[in-house]
Amino acid sequence: MEELKGKRGIIALIALIIITIGLLSSLEKLTGRVNPGISEVYNALAYLVAPNNLATWVYDWRGFDTLIETAVIYVGGLVSALVIGRGVVQMKKCKQESPVTSKPLEFRVESLTVILEYLGIPAAILLISYGIMIVTGSSTSGGGGFQCGVIMTSAYLLAAILYGKNNPIKFGKRFIIGIGAIGLGGYALLGLPGYLATGYWQYNIGADVWSLVPSILHTIFGDPFRLSLILKEGVFYSTPGIVPLINIAEAFNVIGAIGLIYFAFLYGWSDEGE
């Protein structure tokens, strides 16, 4: 914060005030005049895919956006662990300053109360179960892969905080990196069937909204998740297609990425055993 003292600080403050005023006046001008644009079309077509409109938006209409956003989480994990020491590289031929290392956190679990000692594990198990429930019902509920990943890694963190290094849900580093790889790799590869069948990457061949694939493919990818919607207007059938699978891949990716960050900060990093 030293750099923001003096003239620089004053300039930064003036800039912040100008930006805030400009932004607020823009938002005020847009109030009540936001153009729905393409979202009207998305909403009109949403019933053709998952009952959870949000899941359809995120994993179908804008599914490729979400893949790269998911990659942001993956890169976040990768870079955080790198800052701690994983994958630090040096030139073979020259002497360089020793890499900056960070010590693992100290765990002091002696003061754990009896209640926490006995309720911690059930709470962590409940959190994991809740995460599984969220991801498996993602196409019909408001939740999804990201929420599942966050909840599950919360269970991991809870166990580490309560029981220290040798907690019951201690994942190995290779395991965590593997989970992340399966998640992001799985999400990316779920675009392949659509690409091979139609030429469009990540076309949802299970939902097949635009009737671009043979019925056999539509059945293979669509039927496992087919739902009957019983409404007062009648019974409708729809399938989210690959959306539930993407959600599961997303969950894996988030568990891998956030788990890796937790692991690196809790235990530090040593390249031994990798």
Partner: protein, 498 residues
Amino acid sequence: MIESISNLWSIPLLVIIPMLTAIIVNFLYDKAIKPIAISSAIIILIISIISPYGYHWFCGHPALNPETLTFTFNPNIFGYKLSLEFIFGPLQHIMIFISSLILLFCVILSTIGLTKHQGPYIALLFLLFMSSAIVIMVNDLYHLWIAVEIGSLIVVGIAAASGTSISHKAALKYGLFSAISGAGLAVSLALVLGLTGFSNISDAIMYLKQFGIGEMSTVLYIAFGFFVLSWMYAGGLAPIHPLKSEVYGASYPHGTALLQAQSKLMLVAIGIIMLRLFGMLPFVKEVMIFLSVITMMIGVIMALIQIDFRWIIAYLIISHSGFVTLGIGLGTQEGLIGGIFQAVNDIIYMTILLLCCEALFYFGGKTSTKEAYDIAKKSPFIATATILGAIAASGIPPFNGFQSEIILIQACLKEGLPEIAVLILMVSVTTFIALLRGIYRIFLKPPELQDQDNSNVDLPKVLIIGIIIFIILSIIIGIYPDIVLRFIIPVVKEVLSI
């Protein structure tokens, strides 16, 4: 001409192959990294060369024709796109080809020259290429934001990878401030989306042209302001230049080669989008020109006072980014051609200098003008290559830098800006002085102590091949600029026709 294909096969592969390679090498960590990474980089290079032109509508949703209310998969028929649209045209062709060439050399050099456990680092190189490819191909504001975000994070990782305190400091500073820039771009996107309802850039522009902006021009100005902020961070323009130059100086030189290519791609891509979206507003071009001029001047002055060859190059990259943005900011045909051409040339000659700088690591790792001496005796090839790189960077014929700088000077004169034309000349001359100062001290100055190590060093063959290839490219483009200009001119005409 861009073909009317909305499912071009190559576009997803240029994004997915680097991503999958990154995942695999990050997981493998040590085993089998080299063959997988090098073969992937070669495949990407081949795709970038042989790919035809066209569009890819990700997730396979059509466009809605607002007049007939029918859906179409034909990109030639106007419609509001439901899909995320990527374009692979002549501009993307030349930019991605050069980036993939640099990626290939970076990957090989990493597998040869770095200590073990290179998996995460090489994964970041592939992801950096992926983010650059997305930025230059995408025609969607929301996705552009995501690509800029992921690009910023990767820059942090590449800078921090050497694990030194300087690199950590540079990386964390850049990471912190790039979060502001990313948020700024998101706000800009939100305002444009609120105004038009479309995140597809062409659709948003079409909407603005059809319905006008009326009293909402203030909103568009604020969106422009946030866009400029992101442009400055992504490209390292003044007054944010210290953050980016620190990242360039703290990363390994081969990594910096890829980082500077990414920056140039971002400057071009975001600059063109700014011109297309906000070009109709008064003072927009003036702001862009002002930032460019300041960047050119500050960058080259800072380069003059550096004592480390890596940092001299780092600041010159910043300064020459100003050339790129100046051309785009002029907004004329000559200006745009000059700006984009300068981006291509800049990537090439800076790569020559950075690869030469990488070679210095094999002579003991000293790149400071106070510590390294007499390298020319140990390696006349590297000394010659560095001088040739410096000549190219200074805009001296027959190298490529000359061709783009002369176009930029002509564009400034045509626009009635002779003072900026003179400034371009001054920056070129100062570039030569800054580089020559470093070259003399490191390569030509005799050692102060006689017990200097004069043993011969075997440089990796791939490093020498890389330097030769980029020098040849620099000379060929310098003599036959049409090789690159034939890719740029149609794009510029299309941008201006919109």
